[in-house]
Chain length 783, copies 2
């Protein structure tokens, strides 16, 4: 009975038309999709990989930056005279108030005007940059920073959105009206009032997510070196061309004179999508000292000023009929941008708009400023926050109508993008993710299994999710060079931000050219030497770059087969490449090793240029996920232990099974951090300052905090329509539902809805105490 | 009367067919051909250019090499125990005799088998490498080299070809028969015996040129660094791909794992066309020490072991009719390769084969080995030597038949390449060079001007010349990237060996795209990041690379005009690029700045890939030159002062008038060195060792040795057939006739034929004394 047991019946997928570009989709693959260790594993593990932080140059100077110690202050006077005389000090730069000597360099622009400057005397958050020193050693630079005397006028601050929106709150920017950034952004379709009227059950709940900090292993910064009027930067970045663009505009240089190199990078998660103040400071200090200068932030500075996932307050109202059909969703969002506008509420409502079938949807989003570091894009911006609200609400609605949470979600799965003119998806594996995930997880059994009523409670939770992006698209150019000995060099602009970009790109070329991976070398992420690429972010690196790489390899293959055909005196169309040789498919005796194709020796190199073609018109390309968690909650201490986790992902074709799993577990781990531990704590009452700007007090999950029992299911429908690699984005969808799955499992375990992240032990203990104080609450729990 | 005064009448040029490839030849140019300073002049002048010799890396070790101090010796025993214990020493490597620890790495191959090895116990010349040390500092490395104890068996040596060819001479290689390398190479056409019989005058003379050393400002060597099994080399080289190929083969690495970078190089002149022993030693020492290692030779080592223009003995017999037509030329050559075969006699006979019309030609060339450093290609290999013989013979024949030397040469100018199946030249400006050069030089007046009969004598001389190569040809690939702000990056594999390659390539792109030079950046000479190029040598860099660069720029232009046409809503064919904007040729109001083409902003970059097309079939492409010198000879001291020099060159289109003049004067200066001062002096009698391996005793001409009165005439027929840039090679033709012009001028001044280079003061004094002893010699001199 499919109606009763829908998730054991596989529904039809949207029709799949022909792929939009020429190459055939891969059939059986030899390399692509296999679990293959990274091609740069040796360098990464041995420590011989030179990350931008490791850059050493002859005559290198080291910089340190003086940061404002107050949540809100005005710099009245800066005295650098003592600092300048310190041993090893080559330059001290400050802003442009009296005693400041830098030109006005605008920073933090909204659409119309700059709201701050590089070294701004008006310090709107703790950690805002005030002055910088370049010296022979980092220690000398820090000593000199301590010798700079600054006179601050400490100003009143706001540390929460509630405080910020009070009528008498101190305004952060004279140019803006109060601390609200513009008018609320409203989305609506249908009629939510009508929808709620049609509902059998209507729930409304306010959810909150705490501020998360990116805090990547390698902090943010750059080393700058000038050759005449040309600038080279070694920057830890997700996008060298993006850095190049900002630096060229800021310093008024031609793009061709700004070379940005980012060969490795130790994590970014959205906080390294472009140039930072440190990039510009490195360039200015290098110019001033005529020496290369390295500016990297400390761990504390990374916490204070290098971005965050902005805290959100979300009030969600949901209506549902008893048969499980959603009738209306209404979401009100307050996003907290920090001290400068940052679109903090953006992306939050996407799950509500598009994940489930719902005719009547209204969302309203407001951004608010407070005296804290500016938000930046953080792995699936807005999505885990919105998912936290929606997927807990879905859980609550399912409970209210007495329906299994998986079954309830399956009732509401769209095959078109409702928020985008009902465009059909090129593929949607959401249904498969729920069905196959639930099956593999043993959902039904786990959900109904008798659980302890003692102090340790078990529970399982599910959450679905989708990512707004992940389609990728042009522009991208990749060049493949085949050397006459059959070895290969790949040239691409994209950064490998830790997801194995170099590895799968090499796998694609290996797939098409039959060249072993160990004979493939990659030059990438260098605006001086490689081709253009947009920053690696938005889960679009595979779908953007893979088709271009494949096209380049196929172009080389075409040339190679032509040369071999001439030598073998057969048609090129009967030839294939296999194990470093070109061989006839008709007569295996007609064979020549690549290294023995004489015309190739003469040519020196075969060069194939590949471009990313356009996306299919009128189609939506999105990745989906369903994730399942089982937790154990200690009701006496409030501790939550995650026992097992299963992630079912629809991201189209998997490029590398090994790095796919790594990436999904990484995303899940980040979601666990959001759910249970991560939170920027501001001292609202007395100073407005962050009290946990370090890895001891700000707790990110480590290997000990994630379950050993982890499963990744890749629902792989071989989407042949999205692009010529058949792949959609993976990095962000992996993290979107993870926190919600944990929260729903916690609810299932303890019967109390934890609406605020992180679900810390004290919060659980407090919530359980409140629940115990209300008689009759126990009945709400399902067996 | 054209017949009497032929060089004031401009003769017809060969017919010019359509160019072989698509782009139109340039008409009026805005940038190409103008005198423009090098785009890297700042770096070169300020010292901020990092030459390979300047490479500094963290943890860099410095190497020193122990060289054999004997002209010929066998290493019996090497004791490195003391050296290994010296402070700072990280590795000592030696050969593979007892106590040697390196694998047998072959070196110096003839066509069949290796004749030596990397650290060969059989040292066949002074300076041959015996052992190498890597240490923290160069001084520590040298101290350790001195602490290596070597037991040599000193062997008998040969220092001249006469000694080498004696029946009882010690043989350098057991694998060869005696010291003669193979059988003599013979070329012939027609019948020289018949030709000499038809002649009215026959002369025979033996000429000699001394051994010249390249001795470039930057010496030879490399810095090597391993990342896992991938090797990066910073090498001072004319061709990074050539180095890559040898290193990969020698060390059995895939080409893709050998990255060779050569961004600047301080002179090569043919001695840096490929990897040297130092390259391999750097790689081996870096592997052994797990540190980067720099191996550069000292100045003395550069003299001893990094190549030379081999000495030549040439016996030339010429026959001419009274009307000035050549009837026969016969040339017998002995070239001296040094201790290993090097094709020392190659190229010498080309002038004799092809410069002048002559039906009957025979040449015979023999290579001989002696105990001295191996010859290498040296700016126009063989040609200045052969020219020294031919052009002095032409002078002597002209005198014998009483004809002006310019007039005599003009009588014998071919329009087809006689040595190559009478293929017509795409263009030959030889006639123009002689006519226009003579006119500008004031040849007739200077030649007939009354000269002093006192101790200071004046004379003028002329010499013609041509270069065997200079056509260029495929393969070459250049990529041009246009950034959205209209600035440009050029990617090319070619080295800029000092001739301004980067500058003219930028000029070509500027010409086609209207981008100012200061907005163009170049990435070049890096096998990891750039496109394939053959080594910069053979005067082929412009004709090979310029068409590829032009094609790449035109491809970008095509894309740019298409994007602009869309935005301006006009046809792309009516658009042109001008001053950073695209503008309609029909309506100047239809105009958009490149930086405002929105589709370009979206694309991020335009990428144009350009290839070098084939050369025209059945045609010969050669550059020509005629050069004129006026000298003053002090007959008491033998000193020669060059008063003025004029070089008339036919190299097709001039790419940059300024670097063209620099290059021609550089070539002429080198010719002056050959004529007057440069000579490797071996101690034939007692040790066989070089006695002047330094810049004090081996005299290369400096600014004080060349005349202030220098003129370059570029006979520019806009050769539209040779290739799409219209340019032929320039570097080598500039040096080919220079020494001969000086020698002929000296003869004109003193009436004594100086047949051996260098024409040193003692040689002149000796020759004049011999002349004075023979009565009646004065009569040979023309007024």
């Amino acid at each position: 009975m499919p109606e009763d047991d829908p998730y054991y019946v596989k529904g039809p997928l949207p029709e799949t038309p022909e792929p939009p570009t020429t190459p055939e989709p891969w059939g059986e693959t030899r390399v692509v999709g296999k679990p293959i260790p990274r091609i740069d594993a040796y360098e990464r593990v041995s420590g011989s990989a030179i990350f931008p932080f490791d850059t050493m140059l002859p005559d290198l100077l080291h910089a340190a930056v003086l940061h404002c110690p107050h949540a809100h202050a005005m710099v009245k006077k800066v005295d650098v005279s003592a600092a300048e005389k310190m041993p090893g000090v080559h330059a001290v730069v400050t802003g442009s108030t009296p005693g400041f000597d830098l030109p006005w360099i605008p920073w933090y622009s909204d659409s119309t005007e700059p709201l701050g400057k590089l070294l701004d005397p008006h310090c709107r958050h703790e950690g805002e940059e005030v002055a910088a020193v370049a010296a022979e050693t980092p220690y000398q630079a820090w000593d000199a920073v301590r010798a700079i005397k600054v006179e601050y006028e400490v100003l009143p601050y706001v540390a929460t959105e509630e405080d910020a929106l009070k009528p008498d709150a101190p305004a952060l920017h004279g140019a803006l009206k109060g601390n609200r950034v513009g008018d609320p952004a409203v989305y609506q379709r249908g009629d939510v009032a009508k929808g709620f009227a049609e509902a059998d059950v209507v729930l409304e709940q306010t959810y909150r997510t705490a501020c998360e900090i990116h805090t990547p292993m390698e902090t943010h910064g750059a080393t700058a070196k000038w050759d005449g009027n040309r600038l080279t930067l070694w920057e830890s970045t997700q996008g060298v061309y993006s850095v190049q663009s900002t630096v060229a505009q800021t310093l008024k240089l031609p793009l061709s004179h700004v070379r940005v190199i980012g060969h490795y990078m130790g994590g970014g998660f959205g906080s390294k999508l472009g140039a930072t103040k440190q990039t510009i400071l490195a360039a200015l200090l290098a110019k001033k000292t005529a020496r290369p200068v390295k500016v990297f932030v400390t761990r504390e500075e990374a916490f204070l000023s290098q971005g965050n996932r902005p805290p959100a307050r979300m009030t969600l109202k949901g209506g549902v009929r008893k048969d499980g059909r959603l009738t209306a969703l209404e979401l009100k969002i307050v996003g907290i941008s920090g001290a400068y506008p940052a679109g903090a509420s953006g992306g939050i409502d996407f799950q509500v708009r598009d994940l489930y079938l719902c005719a009547n949807v209204r969302t309203e989003a407001t951004d608010v400023l407070i005296n804290a570091g500016q938000a930046r894009a953080f792995r699936a911006p807005g999505h885990p926050q919105g998912n936290w609200a929606l997927e807990q609400m879905m859980d609550a609605l399912a409970e209210k109508i007495g329906m299994d949470p998986v079954e309830f979600r399956l009732k509401n799965i769209p095959t078109v993008s409702q928020a985008r003119d009902n465009q059909p998806y090129t593929s949607t594996g959401f249904k498969d993710c729920l069905i196959e995930g639930a099956k593999a997880f043993g959902w039904k059994e786990a959900r109904t299994r008798a659980r302890s009523t003692g102090p340790i409670r078990r529970g399982v939770g599910v959450a679905g999710g989708m990512w707004q992006g992940g389609s990728g698209g042009p522009p991208s150019t990749v060049i493949v060079k085949l050397f006459p000995d059959g070895s290969v060099n790949i040239n691409m602009g994209a950064s490998d931000i830790g997801c194995g970009t170099k590895t799968w790109m090499a796998m694609i070329v290996s797939e098409e050219l039959g060249v072993p991976l160990e004979r493939i070398e990659i030059e990438h992420a260098d605006t001086g030497t490689t081709q253009f690429a947009t920053p690696s972010g938005g889960s679009k690196t595979v779908p953007t770059e893979a088709p271009a790489g494949r096209a380049a390899a196929l172009e080389v293959k075409r040339q190679l087969l032509e040369l071999a055909a001439e030598q073998l005196k057969v048609g090129a169309d009967e030839l294939k490449v296999e194990d470093g040789a070109v061989v006839s498919t008709k007569d295996p005796a007609k064979k020549v090793e690549i290294a023995r194709i004489t015309a190739l020796q003469r040519r020196g190199l075969l060069v194939g240029v590949g471009y990313r073609g356009p996306n299919p018109e009128g189609k939506a390309v999105n990745p989906f996920a369903a994730q399942f968690a089982e937790v154990e909650v200690n009701t006496r201490t409030g501790e939550v232990k995650i026992l097992r986790f299963l992630a079912a992902q629809d991201s189209g074709r998997v490029m590398n099974r090994l790095t796919c799993e790594n990436q999904v577990f990484g995303g899940v781990t980040m979601g666990i951090g959001l759910a249970l531990t991560e939170e920027r704590v501001l001292d609202r009452a007395r100073t407005g300052k962050m009290v946990n700007a370090n890895w001891h007090d700000y707790k990110i999950p480590t290997a000990l905090d994630v379950p050993a029992d982890k499963t990744v299911i890749a629902v792989d429908p071989h989407d042949t329509m999205c692009n010529t690699a058949g792949a959609k984005g993976l990095g962000e969808p992996a993290t979107i539902p993870a926190a919600s799955a944990v929260a729903n499992a916690v609810y299932h375990a303890i019967g109390v809805r934890m609406t605020e992240s992180p679900i810390s032990p004290p919060a659980i203990v407090r919530a359980l105490a409140e629940q115990a104080a209300k008689p009759g609450q126990q009945q709400r729990r399902r067996g």
